[in-house]
């Protein structure tokens, strides 16, 4: 079946080159031999995700921002608030516009003339999840009922693509909303809203419109886990290499109250049994607890400063 069965190389370097060549020529068998030992090439257990870190507020020109690293996948989310006039049938509701972009720096397959195919798919998925999970109460984004409300532009940039892009993007969006600081605004003479800066706050004659409402309350936060299913194995949090070799992905999104927000399985060679789906949900639940702990720690680290 494989060329390396009968051949035993002597020195360490030759053995390394053999492994590398096997990896390149027969990637699927390379992974299957690892899976048979219940381990992955980067020595993770099958159900374990990579190390995750969250850094809040890296971009000072945005009203809220977060940088998330899951293993090598790096995603930066930033929110900028602008004022809009709300629609007539919902006069005291703000709005959120979600955009996910993969600039050419993130991966060798993305070129300036040829944008990545997955970017709009992930953007749509993200905006569906954020709207339907009830993370944000849009009424908190309202300023003057019927006249002015906040439009939150959430822009997510992938800085390095190494698998699990949706997970990292959702986590960065949640972290950016938790970090968001709404600026104080007051009504100027010509009917527009302008920001009140710190020096003018005391001596200005104008009253700030939104003195009480500086941070958004995040009632429930959604967390997701992407898994790959191959034969009878479930691999959590795949790298981009694993994603390219095995094509059946399942994304489970749970919120912090352990309710299922979204389940997404788009085609793929393997058809799932309900038992496999249940196992994926259990893995997602563990991941949700890990992630909410990490998010809570980084938020409290910000409070201390």
């Amino acid at each position: 079946m494989t060329s390396t069965e009968g051949y035993k190389p002597e020195s360490g370097l030759a053995a390394e080159i053999e492994v590398e060549a096997y990896h390149r020529l027969f990637p699927l068998q390379y992974y299957e031999r690892h899976l048979a030992e219940s381990v992955r090439p980067d020595s993770r257990a099958l159900g374990r995700a990579r190390d995750t870190t969250i850094a809040l507020g890296p971009v000072t020109s945005a009203d809220g921002s977060a940088l998330v690293k899951i293993g090598d996948t790096t995603v930066l989310a930033a929110i900028k608030l602008e004022v809009m006039t709300p629609s007539i049938d919902s006069p005291d509701v703000g709005s959120v516009a979600v955009d996910f972009q993969m600039p050419p720096i993130c991966s060798p397959v993305v070129r300036p003339g040829r944008p990545a195919e997955v970017a709009p798919v992930i953007a749509k998925q993200l905006s569906d999840v954020i709207m339907s999970s009830g993370m944000i109460n849009l009424q908190e984004l309202s300023l003057i009922s019927g006249k002015a409300a906040w439009m939150a532009y959430l822009d997510i940039y992938c800085l390095n693509a190494d698998g699990s892009l949706f997970d990292a993007a959702l986590l960065s969006a949640t972290a950016a909303f938790s970090h968001l600081q709404i600026p104080l605004v007051s009504l100027s003479d010509d009917g527009k809203l302008i920001t009140v800066s710190e020096e003018l706050k005391d001596k200005a004659a104008v009253e700030p419109v939104n003195k009480e409402n500086r941070k958004l309350t995040i009632a429930v936060a959604p967390f997701s886990l992407t898994c790959i299913v191959h034969g009878k194995y479930i691999l959590a949090d795949p790298t981009s290499e694993e994603e390219s070799v095995m094509d059946t992905h399942v994304t489970v999104v749970l919120d912090s109250k352990e309710r299922l927000v979204s389940l997404y399985k788009a085609g793929g060679a393997v058809l799932l049994h309900t038992s496999v789906v249940k196992d994926c949900i259990v893995l997602a639940k563990q991941r949700m607890e890990e992630l909410s702990e990490i998010l809570r720690e980084s938020l409290s680290a910000m409070e201390v400063d």
């Binding site: 890296p58 971009v59 900028k80 516009a97 720096i105 409300a149 920001t195």
Partner: protein, 256 residues
């Protein structure tokens, strides 16, 4: 879904304009304090790190004050099929801004002028004969624009190219300088840049004592140009030392 796309405006617009008018009168005086407490001939502290993006051949992240730039280098890789054969390698530079890099949200756009200036600045320093028929792609993404963007992009790009192992004659460092009447201010922030009378940017290879790019714009009293050049060249050599020590630290981390 997005109901107000036509009519959104940023609330901080009119306040900024009022501030700028104030500042314009301030800058004409002889002595004024810079917003971040530096004196006129002091550059911003630089934070540099290589290896920011693992999927690229080489990458670097630079943070000068509030200007944050990430640069990835891919290559040498196959040129596009449409390109004719060439004996020397090709460079393809691309500078993009994120939508949240400026205080007022803009569209994420490619800055064509900066892309071509970056190309000119690096062309002279890279040994193009070492990779014929192939292209090296250099992509820069400006995460936050706090003034003096192009010099930071150039310095960060030369660090990324060195990280990718592409042969260069020397590391390239760039510094810009603003002129306000009689005063000269090095490494300006974006508020200072907005009210400047003239600007000078030099891209320099210190070990070979060669300038790869020299850009002078605006109103300059002739006597000051020489002095401005000396200041810039000095700052460039110091910056190149910092770039070099960053590369050395990274290399020692890998072997350790």
């Amino acid at each position: 879904m997005a109901t107000g796309t036509l009519g959104t405006y940023s609330p901080s617009q009119s306040l900024e304009r009022r501030h700028q008018q104030q500042k314009r009168t301030d800058f004409q005086e002889v002595d004024w304090a810079r917003s971040d407490g530096r004196n006129f001939h002091q550059c911003r502290p630089a934070f540099l790190r290589t290896g920011a993006a693992s999927s690229a051949s080489g990458s670097a992240y630079a943070e000068f004050g509030s200007t944050k730039v990430i640069v990835s280098v891919f290559g040498p890789r196959e040129s596009k099929k449409a390109m004719l054969y060439s004996d020397v390698g090709r460079l393809n530079c691309h500078v993009t801004y994120t939508t949240f890099s400026t205080p007022i949200r803009g569209q994420g756009f490619e800055h064509k002028e900066y892309s071509s200036m970056l190309h000119k600045a690096l062309e002279g320093a890279i040994m193009l004969e070492t990779f014929p028929k192939t292209t090296v792609d250099i992509f820069a993404l400006v995460l936050e624009s706090g003034g003096g963007d192009l010099p930071v992009i150039i310095s960060c790009a030369s660090l990324a190219i060195a990280d990718a192992g592409i042969m260069m004659y020397d590391l390239v460092s760039a510094v810009s300088l603003s002129c306000f009447g009689k005063n000269m201010v090095i490494d300006p922030t974006s508020e200072e840049e907005a009210c400047q009378d003239g600007s000078l940017m030099i891209t320099y290879m210190p070990s070979r004592n060669e300038v790869t790019q020299f850009t002078l714009t605006g109103e300059w009293p002739t006597a000051r140009i020489n002095e401005a050049m000396e200041l810039c060249l000095d700052a460039c050599s110091k910056l190149a030392d910092i770039l070099r020590s960053c590369l050395k630290d990274n290399a020692s981390e890998l072997t350790a």
